[in-house]
């Protein structure tokens, strides 16, 4: 921990993440045909900075690969290479490899030797076409300075670059050492670049004739190892500051030029003590002189802040509850104060949550490449149109929405869009359009994926579902229900299992992922015209609006977003199905009444819906259900706490919260309740008639009728 290099590595990887993002954004712009010079520059800078930083930490593989990529980009930048759409694919692939190498370096993993070889080859092939002799470039750009002695000898391939800082102590000469001999000796090891630093030379009056004032920076391209270099300095080791750093594999002349100009020697120009670790880290982001308007904060700190605000919200709820009993006439200021406090805390909470918010762009930007790759593999034509990338969501959401989103895009291209010839026959444009959009509505974020493909073929879906035993052959399903079948586990309509879309572990996993984020997904599809998937997600995962309800002596919290209406049915509204479950007429449809007291095993609860209340909630796929509860308590914002951190996941419960009175209350997980209720039915069906117990619900309906 105390190792400063470790800290700088952390900074380096943080910056790599940013740089990779901007690199990809730039590539996307280029791909979209925006060949702005500034964009090319930014792309080049990103690769260059990553390479520079990687060199400082000795990530050889990364440097080697980034170098080729950088060279290619440099040629494009300088105009030596005409931008060609064909290069885009290579550049995008190179971006992938680079991300992978950065990731591997960060995790401290070794990467397979052949990783990226093909891409590197492809890039080299492009470079070879340029026809610009490499040597010419290198000499043209070599810095010529009076104090610099450049000795360009022949260089073998696969040699390494070392950067050596040699700063003799004043006493060096007194021990009968001569730097020039050392430098000559060093020169015999390989290709040596020498840079003299005279900044320590004092005024002539103060100068001691026998003192050593000069210091040197060397860059050595050599086949020898570090030990050989150390050997040169063997006799002066105790009389100087010597720092030898390995800058990885030497590749080709331009590398050296670039490095000499922008990387390795850059900081030496203006910073005499450039080799201190701080400076090395600084070299990662050249040219960042502008004072930044943002700061980098560890996520842990933000989370602590979020937790503390959560505590405040709970305390505030408690105060308000207690304060409600006070007489306003008696304590006008106190009551007013509590009101103000509540408002401020809510504002504070919004601010804190905003810190965690990130634009969905970070997730969306991965999609264009996915579409490109897919269309190339599948031989389809598609264009991805994105909107609302700036919409902000909680970091946890952006982290976890990526995979489901990729899966859905993949599905849209693979299953949704037709082949170009089919599209042409159907009178559509050969190029399919996939719209990916994000927007805020009603305190939630919506992400929509819309394609203008074939839509869901309901006959095929139904046939498949029947074949897989998901529905009974004589089931009479509405269009919406058929569409929702694709979210069932073990459902895949792909006629052949391709490596693009999975093996029926698709949409149900997508739905599970989205549910785990407190989100919902729905689908709208029209045959021949296309499909639209709509995901609705909470803005934050830490707090939600809930309805506190009584179930017997326990208090449970229902997510407010799912609640449609609360009502007390009349006797005539409740009917029972042959399996013992009750249904209720609601807005012209029969909806299932779910006995929460039964699923939660609470024995002192009101079981007759006509005596308690029915909360109508919307479950997955827009299915309405009626939850039987005793009474409503109040509506309030609740802070979501995990049960798993100290205990375990409890079926039917998505988490817990702490109410104003300090008691713990459980949050109802509507989608698992939906599943549990379905399982109850299955148990019932599998039980033989004799062993069928009359369920409490059946008894109620017996009473009712």
């Amino acid at each position: 921990m105390s190792d400063p290099m470790e800290q700088f590595k952390v900074i380096f990887f943080d910056e790599c993440t940013d740089l990779l993002t901007s690199l990809e954004e730039g590539l996307m712009q280029l791909q979209a045909g925006d060949c702005d010079e500034e964009v090319v520059h930014s792309v080049f800078r990103a690769v260059h900075s990553i390479k520079g930083g990687a060199g400082a930490f000795g990530f050889d593989r990364l440097v080697a690969f980034a170098h080729i990529q950088e060279t290619l980009l440099d040629d494009i930048r300088s105009g030596a290479l005409e931008m060609d759409p064909a290069y885009m694919t290579v550049l995008l692939q190179a971006y992938d490899i680079l991300s992978e190498l950065v990731g591997a370096a960060q995790r401290g993993e070794e990467v397979a030797d052949e990783l990226g070889d093909d891409v590197a080859k492809a890039m080299k092939a492009i470079l070879d076409q340029t026809g610009v002799p490499l040597a010419e470039k290198s000499t043209a750009a070599t810095p010529k300075e009076p104090d610099t002695d450049v000795d360009t000898g022949s260089v073998e391939k696969n040699t390494r670059i070392f950067k050596i800082s040699f700063k003799p102590y004043e006493e060096l000469f007194q021990r009968a050492n001569e730097p020039i001999l050392l430098i000559k000796e060093l020169g015999t090891l390989g290709d040596l670049t020498v840079k003299l630093n005279v900044s320590d030379v004092p005024d002539i009056e103060e100068m001691e004739a026998e003192h050593a004032y000069f210091s040197w920076e060397f860059r050595l391209i050599t086949e020898y190892d570090e030990a050989a270099i150390r050997e040169v300095f063997e006799f002066v080791e105790d009389d100087c500051d010597l720092l030898i750093t390995d800058h990885g594999v030497y590749l080709s002349p331009e590398a050296f030029v670039e490095d000499a100009q922008a990387g390795l020697f850059e900081d030496i120009e203006d910073e005499p003590d450039a080799l201190k670790p701080q400076k090395t880290a600084k070299a990662v982001k050249p040219g960042e002189a502008v004072v930044s308007q943002s700061i980098r904060v560890e996520l842990d700190k933000v989370d602590t802040l979020v937790n503390m605000v959560g505590e405040l919200v709970i305390t505030q709820a408690m105060l308000r509850e207690q304060g409600g009993e006070l007489l306003v006439e008696q304590y006008p200021n106190l009551v007013q104060g509590i009101e103000d406090l509540s408002r401020h805390i809510r504002d504070l909470q919004d601010c804190v949550m905003a810190i965690r918010a990130q634009p969905v762009k970070s997730v969306f930007s991965r999609m264009p490449r996915l579409v490109r790759e897919l269309t190339a593999t599948l031989g389809k034509k598609a264009r991805l149109v994105m909107s609302g990338e700036e919409t902000e969501v909680d970091k946890t959401v952006t982290e976890r929405i990526g995979d489901p989103l990729m899966h859905m895009i993949r599905n849209s291209v693979d299953h949704g869009l037709e082949m170009p010839d089919v599209r042409a026959k159907a009178g559509k444009n050969e190029e399919g359009i996939i719209n990916l959009s994000a927007f805020h509505r009603g305190g939630r974020i919506f992400i929509e994926i819309e394609d203008d493909g074939a839509g869901i073929n309901k006959a095929v879906v139904l046939e498949k579902a029947i074949a897989n035993g998901l529905v009974s052959p004589d089931a009479n399903l509405s269009d919406e229900e058929i569409n929702n079948l694709i979210f069932m586990p073990g459902f895949s309509t792909a006629k052949s299992v391709t490596n693009v879309s999975g093996r029926g572990v698709g949409m149900d996993v997508v739905r599970k992922n989205i549910q785990s984020l407190g989100g919902r997904i729905s689908i709208r599809s029209e045959e021949g015209k296309g499909s639209r998937f709509t995901m609705s997600l909470p803005l934050t995962l830490a707090v939600m609006d809930g309805m506190v309800v009584d179930i017997g002596s326990e208090k449970y919290v229902l997510p407010l977003v799912n609640i449609i209406q609360t009502l007390r049915p009349g006797k005539e509204d409740v009917n029972s199905l042959p399996d013992g479950r009750n249904v209720m007429m609601f807005r012209g449809e029969y909806i299932l009444l779910v006995p929460l007291y039964d699923l939660y095993d609470i024995d002192d609860a009101i079981q007759n819906p006509c005596e308690g209340l029915v909360v109508v909630v919307e479950g997955d796929g827009g299915v309405l259900m009626g939850f039987i509860v005793d009474d409503l308590v109040n509506q309030q914002q609740v802070v979501i706490k995990s049960l798993e951190s100290n205990y375990a996941l409890v079926e039917g419960v998505s988490g817990a919260t702490i109410l104003g009175n300090g008691r713990v209350s459980l949050i109802v997980d509507i989608s698992t309740i939906q599943d549990m209720s379905a399982n109850q039915l299955r148990e019932f069906q599998s039980a033989s008639p004799e062993t069928r117990k009359i369920s409490p619900q059946a008894q109620i309906s017996a009473e009712i009728h």
Binding site: S645, N646, Y647, G652, L666
Partner: protein, 169 residues
């Protein structure tokens, strides 16, 4: 950093070698006396009503709010198949830290703090043949009464508190 922390724990655990003296908190469940190592105990709370969790084992008494953290409470009496504790004012919950998790153990009353040299801890007869006794670290005689030293992490469903022994080993 993580390494240093685990090292710290290890040094701590290896201190249970012979010649060492450790402190325990002893408590009653009915007539029996049990003890847990004092370093694992975070707090001793008077009984407060819990919020019961559905579909949980019967010794799981529900969860309580401990300064904003949800802590599960287990009934030691139920765990030992001696019925259900009807908690009143005198009952206490011993909050223990097991690795990353914090749990509460419902007992009748706290008895004493014991200082026990490790060589005085006697082994449990049949422990090796009866896996049910895995939670018993050993037996010790204090003022002619037997005290069973328990390892809470072995007591409550291993699936619920996984990898703790592995982590401590």
């Amino acid at each position: 950093m993580t390494n240093q922390e685990t090292n710290g724990q290890e040094t701590h655990d290896t201190s249970s070698q012979k010649g060492d003296i450790k402190q325990y908190i002893s408590f009653n469940v009915g007539q029996e006396l049990y003890a847990v190592e004092i370093t694992t105990v975070r707090e001793i709370k008077g009984w407060i009503p819990t919020t019961s969790l559905p579909n949980s084992p019967d010794y799981m008494r529900g969860v309580i709010n401990m300064r904003g953290v949800i802590v599960p409470v287990f009934d030691l009496r139920t765990r030992f198949n001696r019925g259900h504790t009807e908690p009143g004012k005198s009952h206490v919950v011993i909050i223990v830290k097991l690795g990353e998790r914090t749990i509460g153990i419902l007992v009748d009353a706290v008895s004493d703090i014991l200082t026990i040299p490790q060589e005085d801890i006697l082994s449990v007869p049949d422990k090796d043949v009866n896996p049910e006794y895995a939670f018993m670290e050993g037996l010790v005689s204090v003022e002619d009464k037997m005290v069973a030293i328990i390892k809470p992490r072995m007591l409550f469903d291993i699936n619920l508190i996984p990898d703790l022994d592995a982590a401590a080993a």
